[in-house]
């Protein structure tokens, strides 16, 4: 007969830095759910958690690394991915997870993202896309929908947002999916798949930012989730070029790319290491 856990002990408590809970994210913030899904997926995947590291950049999503009870690194703005690349190359046994936000990964960090994808560095990048720069008060980001109001686009955003899955696919990512925090089970499964898969995996998670984005765009947190429920369509294996963010015509969710390509470390070992010594250096 199974024992019930102590009633005050959440199943993820062993992976959290309990002395820092409750966390800083706002009521209704989607980052909490995305983070929770990530932790559950990490546990369910069976990967060696002692060898798992979480790296983040700056921003609200970037605070995630501070709450997980693993080796975690909160680096500079936009530079989580090259930091993770260095870590992975130095110790290929580490399971590297980058948990960061849309502004951090795709604006200032855009260059690093496309190169890590091109190299197919074996890491899982979870981008929490809340369509703005939340931590600094709600400025426009590379993912902000057309016409949306932010503090630096008070008259409405005049630019079109990135199609992140297309960008990831075009750069060479071998696993690309997009979910929302409402589709939590799909998100958890997707993260689990990405963790177990070798190669550069990218998961975009749409999440509400109630205080900074939501307030300025007349979206209470439950309204955002209702939009995720009603104006999304799950279409696995859709063409990445069809995945532009347009809430009026509907957002497509699903797993779009799941391919296999040798990873950065594999190709380096095969190409650059002296082949007669490759067994010795592997053992070292």
């Amino acid at each position: 007969m199974k024992q019930i856990k102590k009633s005050s002990s959440h199943p993820l408590d062993d992976l959290l830095r309990l002395d820092r809970i409750p966390h800083i994210w706002c009521p209704g913030c989607g980052i909490g759910t995305a983070f929770s899904s990530c932790l559950t997926a990490m546990k369910r995947s069976g990967i060696d958690l002692q060898k798992t590291v979480m790296i983040s950049g700056i921003g609200c999503s970037g605070r995630g690394a501070g709450y997980v009870n693993l080796d975690s690194y909160h680096t500079t703005h936009g530079r989580a991915i090259p930091f993770a690349t260095g870590m992975k190359l130095a110790n290929p046994e580490l399971n590297v997870i980058v948990f960061s936000g849309d502004g951090d990964l795709f604006a200032i960090g855009g260059n690093h993202f496309i190169h890590a994808a091109r190299r197919n560095v074996d890491m899982t990048v979870i981008c929490v896309n809340n369509f703005n720069y939340g931590m600094t008060g709600g400025q426009v980001a590379a993912t902000t929908p057309f016409h949306a109001k932010t503090t630096t686009t008070p008259m409405g955003n005049s630019e079109s947002p990135f199609n992140l899955p297309l960008l990831a696919y075009a750069s060479g990512a071998t696993y690309v999916s997009r979910w929302t925090v409402l589709h939590t089970r799909d998100l958890m499964e997707s993260i689990e798949e990405a963790l177990l898969k070798r190669g550069f995996s990218f998961i975009e998670v749409l999440a509400p930012c109630p205080v900074n984005y939501g307030r300025r765009n007349r979206e209470k947190p439950l309204d955002s989730l209702k939009i995720y429920q009603e104006r999304t369509l799950i279409k696995n294996n859709a063409q990445p070029s069809e995945l532009a963010i347009d809430f009026d015509s509907g957002i497509i969710l699903g797993k779009f790319i799941d391919e296999d390509r040798p990873t950065c470390v594999e190709m380096y070992d095969k190409t650059c290491r002296p082949q007669d010594l490759s067994e010795e250096t592997k053992a070292a």
Partner: protein, 381 residues
């Protein structure tokens, strides 16, 4: 297959000597980006690192390069990068990160004339103040200035040892002249090269405090995957590594970071002197300019001027006490450097008005001739 340490006599450029020094010191990761005149360090490392079981990667920009170096360091591998002025400027933010999270790493700046794109193929020594204060915020850093390919070899090993001991990025400030100069480099036997790895933690893994210093002021550094479950952040943090947003936490963290260096100046500061014992005029120099000064001191002595050379190996932290003590005894200082007065400002400051300080400088692109130094010695004194 070449051995790890290339014991023997070689005819190397400074850049190659830097790479070989790094490998001898135990460097097994290089994240680079091409920039004249430091490209050759990366090129040599790309060939050598796979031979010794290390990894080389050319990143997409200098910022990626330094970020990857810090990541590799946190994963337990000695790592370095090499760049020049424009790349050095780009790396500044992440050098600050390395200082704040206390990640050992080595950055070589093969200086060239600036500002901006400047003279890519001609050297200078004009990044010295940037080496000290280039990143934002207040901090301590260690910068070495070798004067020849042989010295680059040894000082790269020293740089790694200092960075691992003090958990700090260490800068090697060479320049294009010695970076691209081929000279004899004698590499000793591997057993004679002392290498240090960072202090490892001992004891309980749970509730381990990654930034609680030992009595010597330095905290042992856990490596990713060791099981200590540490958090490292660039935000001001407490002993647990957790961000704390108060002035008190800032004070304590800064106290720890600064005193790491300031309490160990005896170990860190290295200088050499030439004919300094009875000198009435002290020439202060470092790097390639110190070679000019060796000739200038001899020539001056022949002409009856009692000059002596204080050659700085460690430019930062600056040997303030040494200058202060000398200022009591000598008639004056002359700083010789290929910039328009950077270390000269430090010498003047430390002389404290007790002895005048003069500069023999040049904005960059050429070495300074001993004749110019003699002329200044004569005119000033």
């Amino acid at each position: 297959m070449r051995p790890t340490v290339l014991t023997g006599d070689h005819f190397f450029t400074g850049d190659v000597a830097c790479a070989e020094g790094a490998i001898a010191a135990g460097c097994r990761f290089f994240g680079g980006y091409p920039i004249t005149p430091a490209t050759e360090v990366a090129e040599h490392m790309s060939a050598r690192l796979p031979e010794v079981g290390g990894t080389f990667i050319q990143m997409e920009d200098e910022i990626g390069a330094i970020a990857s170096v810090i990541g590799a360091s946190c994963a337990g591998v000695k790592s370095m990068t090499a760049t020049s002025g424009p790349g050095f400027s780009l790396m500044m933010e992440n050098i600050g990160l390395a200082i704040c999270i206390e990640a050992p790493c080595v950055i070589a700046n093969v200086q060239r004339a600036g500002p901006s794109t400047g003279l890519p193929t001609l050297g200078a020594q004009s990044d010295m103040m940037q080496a000290r204060w280039g990143s934002h915020g207040h901090y301590e850093i260690i910068a070495l200035a070798p004067a020849s390919p042989q010295e680059i070899f040894y000082q790269t090993v020293t740089a790694f040892n200092l960075s691992e001991t003090y958990r700090l990025p260490v800068l090697i400030m060479t320049d294009e002249m010695i970076g691209h100069l081929s000279e004899r480099v004698t590499i000793p036997d591997a057993k004679k090269i002392k290498t240090i790895f960072r202090k490892r933690p001992k004891g309980r893994k749970d509730r381990f405090k990654p930034y609680r210093p030992d009595p010597d002021g330095i905290a042992p550094m856990p490596i990713a995957g060791d099981g200590y479950n540490i958090h490292m952040t660039g935000l001001t943090h407490d002993e647990r590594g957790y961000p704390v947003m108060t002035a008190d936490a800032q004070y304590e963290m800064m106290e720890r970071l600064i005193s790491k260096v300031r309490k160990n100046l005896d170990d860190i500061i290295r200088t050499e002197s030439y004919r300094l014992d009875d000198a009435e005029i002290v020439i202060v120099s470092y790097g390639v300019s110190s070679r000019t000064c060796l000739a200038a001191v001899d020539e001056a002595r022949e002409q009856g001027i009692k000059a002596g050379l204080l050659k700085l190996i460690t430019v930062w932290p600056f040997p303030e006490d040494r200058i202060r003590n000398l200022a009591e005894k000598v008639k004056g200082f002359v700083t010789v450097e290929i910039n328009l007065g950077q270390i000269h400002l430090e010498v003047e400051r430390c002389a404290g008005g007790k002895a005048p300080a003069f500069l023999v400088g040049h904005p960059g692109g050429t070495i300074i001739s001993p004749e110019r130094v003699i002329r200044t010695l004569k005119e000033a004194f």
